[in-house]
């Protein structure tokens, strides 16, 4: 009962002239854009004094083809995957949550603030409680946007972006004030006790048990979104909100609920990042993850089972880009452009495949 999957197949055949030989005007325009973009990009790389071929191979090799690179990509993929799962739920419902960054920050801060009181508990219990605390915190921040939408009809795109700024500033103040490390050197908290850390799974990498959390979340969200009444109701609301209302679904409750759900997933991503990787909350520990996760969710076409794959892909791109910025004369902003071009190319290919 995967509404989204059906959606895709419908669009495939609903195109005007679905002749295999002739490309539709949109496809032609997309290809032209892509070719033009690639040429412009090659020109820019040449201007920066590098060979485009070398840059591209370096990027792909470092991101995907070395064991180190792959490990780093997976590390980066864990939070992206968790956030994207929540976003997929909300996008399926037609609710555009752009506020994962804020929800992540609030959830993590709530959990880290609780860390002191759970440190004495046996191993595992404390971690579990922190994961739950982060989810509750993120859910609450998401629910604020939900409440604004349901009560006042405020557009969630606007409110979630606004709430991102509020969250970022509150966190900035917290790590410089109430929960700052005792040394008061950097905007960050003290290191969390070892008993609260997620163990590393593979020797020599930084991949923590957060990987297990993420994979569990994939299975749970997949089941929730494709096999349950709740997931079905979300899909119906996203596809035809009027029909949802006529069939008795409460759009207000679904909207508030799904914003809380995606907030919870963002909070979970944040605390997993802290407990598994950094060991403390520091400012900017998850830069732009909420936005990258949107790309992940869209690349996976909101399919929970594809989200880990897309997350790994973007994680690899990030690692590869870092290598490019480190080893060549290509500056980092240009690397972001290359990244965008690769994603765009991928999307284009998948659109063309569906047209055919």
């Amino acid at each position: 009962m995967d509404g989204r999957a059906l959606n895709d197949s419908t669009q495939a055949s609903a195109g005007h002239t679905s002749t295999a030989r002739r490309l539709s005007p949109e496809a032609r325009a997309a290809i032209l854009t892509l070719v033009g973009g690639a040429l412009a990009l090659a020109g820019l790389i040449l201007l920066a004094g590098e060979s485009p071929a070398r840059v591209l191979t370096l990027m792909l090799r470092e991101g995907f083809l070395t064991l180190n690179g792959l490990g780093a990509a997976a590390t980066r993929a864990i939070p992206l995957c968790l956030i994207a799962l929540g976003l997929a739920a909300s996008f399926r419902a037609g609710i555009y949550n752009i506020g994962a960054d804020g929800q992540l920050a609030v959830g993590t801060a709530v959990a880290v603030a609780c860390a002191g009181s759970v440190a004495g508990l046996p191993f595992g219990t404390g971690i579990a409680l922190l994961l739950i605390a982060a989810m509750l915190g993120g859910a609450a921040w998401g629910a604020v946007a939900g409440l604004l939408k349901v009560r006042f009809g405020a557009n969630e795109i606007v409110t979630t972006i606004m709430l991102n700024y509020i969250a970022a500033n509150v966190i900035g103040w917290l790590v410089r004030g109430p929960i700052q490390e005792p040394m008061r050197m950097f905007p960050r908290t003290a290191r969390l006790p070892e008993i609260l850390r997620l163990p590393i799974l593979f020797e020599g990498t930084r991949i923590s048990a957060g990987l297990i959390v993420a994979l569990l979340a994939v299975v749970i969200l997949w089941f929730l979104l494709t096999r349950t009444r709740y997931g079905f109701s979300l899909a119906v609301m996203g596809l035809n909100s009027s029909a949802a209302r006529f069939s008795g679904l409460s759009r207000g409750r679904l909207t508030g609920g799904v914003l809380a759900l995606s907030g919870a997933m963002a909070g979970l991503a944040g605390i997993v990042e802290v407990l598994g990787l950094h060991g403390r909350l520091q400012e900017g520990f998850a830069p732009g993850f909420g936005i990258t996760a949107i790309t992940v969710a869209l690349l996976a076409r909101l399919n929970p089972l594809l989200i880990p794959v897309a997350a790994l892909g973007l994680g690899g791109l990030y690692v590869g880009s870092a290598a490019v910025a480190r080893d060549t004369a290509v500056p980092f902003p240009l690397v972001s452009i290359i990244e965008a071009a690769v994603i765009f190319g991928f999307l284009l290919i998948s659109v063309l495949r569906r047209k055919a």
């Binding site: 009962m1 509404g3 419908t10 005007h16 009444r229 119906v236 029909a243 069939s247 679904l249």
Partner: protein
């Protein structure tokens, strides 16, 4: 002077994957003729229309316009050759005004001259004899209003060839009359018209020639005068002339059925209905609806029918008056639509595509949509897929839905077949209160009879049925009592056998 057909299909076929929707059809449409295209639901009428108008391309065969072979790659190409179409499912932008929808696709780039546009729409509407407010939001109009706009839009393009896919299905008899007069007029100007319809009366009234489709094939084509209505019915159903037809629907069961109880299922008191734009649709209405009866709501559309049904379904709250539903305590408006449904209310909405189904979802999912709390379909929050699919397969059989199977997206079904699924869904689980807004709209003769039979069956079982219909034949065939909404007033209710069509017609006209 042009000779030969303005539009010709030559051995045209269309397949969707394994489905052969159109199988080797050849048709010629002459200049200045009104050509009827008829057939049962799913026969392929809309598919032919879409190929003529450039929306889809034939898989095989050729289309010629004035003798010249064409390969439309979009509706724009067809439009450039003077082919204008009114689709069965409208393509209007709900958040735009009527005028803005008019401008869409036709206005030149640059600033929109609104006053000129409004003037043009008013003249056009007046020439056809309908009333339209260019500044009204399309989303606030009912289906009949939207249909009128689509028709005016098509006329505004000054086509040489006009295609209308079931245009009259949603119109009131008066508006349908006006439409037919307009067709007469443009025919005299040498414009050809293709009319898709399920109403044989329309065929005999304004069409010169008729083509009968059945299961994707052209059964017969000829002058209307060569056929009697029974011939056409027989050809549509069986592909042959003079086949024995199934007996006419529902020889009206005895009106006073045993199931009819005395306690009303629905009690409406002093209800004041407001339209979306705030104007008063009905000042005050009161009636009871008992178990085991069909109460028809007649009247020109837009006189409060939509608002009445929505209020009873719990989708709209009215400022004044009260509604009571025997299955639930207290005011109906204090319950959620969900609670109402669970208490046994079912609702066939008037706007199927917009409110009734999710086009991209499968038949099975659309069936599930109305029954998300039914233990056979959902247990502990988990959907029981097998059981939903099994039930859908059953429904497909019972209602004769033309589909490749329960997992086909419902948007790929013909309009009538979509409607059958909605009806099946709402009839399931024996509702005690059924709100049916134009239930047989867009259905072929056979299926209309099936639906009317079902309504009677459920009434006799003891359901209370509120039937909104613009079709007096239907009302007279199955309703027990009738009320008429017109000019902010409610007339009736009166038992059908105590009134006449003349009286009801006069009420509808506001006398």
């Amino acid at each position: 002077m042009i000779s030969g057909p303005i539009l010709a299909l030559d051995g045209v076929s269309k397949s969707y994957g394994d489905v052969l929707a159109i199988d080797d059809v050849s048709l010629n449409i002459a200049v200045g003729e009104v050509f009827a295209l008829i057939g049962e639901n799913g026969a392929g009428k809309s598919t032919i229309v879409k190929m003529m108008s450039g929306e889809i391309a034939p898989s095989r065969g050729t289309i010629r316009v004035l003798g010249e072979k064409v390969a439309f790659s979009s509706p724009r190409d067809a439009l450039a050759r003077g082919i204008s179409v009114v689709h069965q499912h409208y393509a209007l932008v709900p958040d735009f005004t009527v005028a803005e929808n008019f401008a869409l696709g036709t206005a030149p780039l640059g600033r929109l001259d609104r006053s000129a546009l409004n003037r043009r729409i008013r003249t056009l509407a007046a020439s056809v004899g309908v009333e339209i407010d260019p500044d009204a939001l399309v989303g606030s109009l009912d289906v009949a209003g939207q249909q009128k706009i689509e028709i005016l839009k098509a006329l505004a393009r000054e086509p040489r060839f006009l295609i209308l896919d079931e245009p009259a299905a949603v119109l009131s008899p008066e508006d349908a009359d006006r439409l037919f007069l307009a067709i007469e007029r443009i025919r005299r100007q040498g414009i050809s018209v293709v009319l898709v319809t399920h109403r044989l009366a329309d065929v005999f009234r304004i069409c010169d020639r008729v083509a009968v489709m059945r299961m994707g094939r052209l059964v017969v084509e000829g002058d209307v005068t060569n056929f009697a209505p029974e011939d056409l019915i027989s050809l549509m159903m069986t592909g042959e002339r003079g086949a024995a037809l199934p007996s006419q629907p529902c020889a009206r069961a005895a009106t006073a059925t045993a199931a009819r109880g005395d306690t009303p299922v629905l009690q409406v008191r002093d209800l004041e209905l407001h339209r979306a734009n705030g104007s008063v649709a009905v000042r005050s209405m009161s009636f009871d609806l008992a178990a085991g009866e069909i109460l028809a709501v007649a009247g020109v559309e837009g006189n409060g029918q939509t608002e009445l049904v929505r209020s009873i379904a719990g989708l709209e709250r009215q400022a004044c008056g009260s509604i009571g539903f025997s299955a639930l305590e207290g005011e109906l408006s204090s319950h959620s639509p969900q609670a109402l449904r669970q208490a046994g209310l079912a609702h066939v909405p008037e706007d199927r595509i917009h409110d009734g189904i999710v086009l991209t979802q499968s038949l099975a999912e659309n069936l599930l949509l109305g029954h998300l709390h039914h233990p056979a379909f959902v247990r502990k929050g988990v959907i029981r897929r097998d059981s939903v699919v099994r039930q859908t397969t059953q429904v497909i059989q019972d209602y004769g839905i033309r589909t490749t199977g329960p997992m086909q997206p419902i948007g790929r079904l013909s309009g009538g077949n979509q409607q059958k699924l909605v009806l099946a869904r709402e009839f399931m689980n024996d509702p005690c209160l059924l709100l049916a807004a134009h239930p047989s709209r867009g259905l072929d003769i056979r299926t209309s009879a099936l639906v009317q039979g079902l309504l009677i069956e459920h009434r006799d079982r003891g359901a209370a049925i509120l039937l909104v219909s613009a079709d007096l034949d239907e009302i007279w065939a199955i309703a027990d009592r009738v009320i008429v909404l017109s000019d902010t007033r409610m007339h009736g209710p009166v038992p059908i056998h105590e009134t006449t069509r003349q009286e009801v017609g006069a009420w509808m006209a506001g006398h």
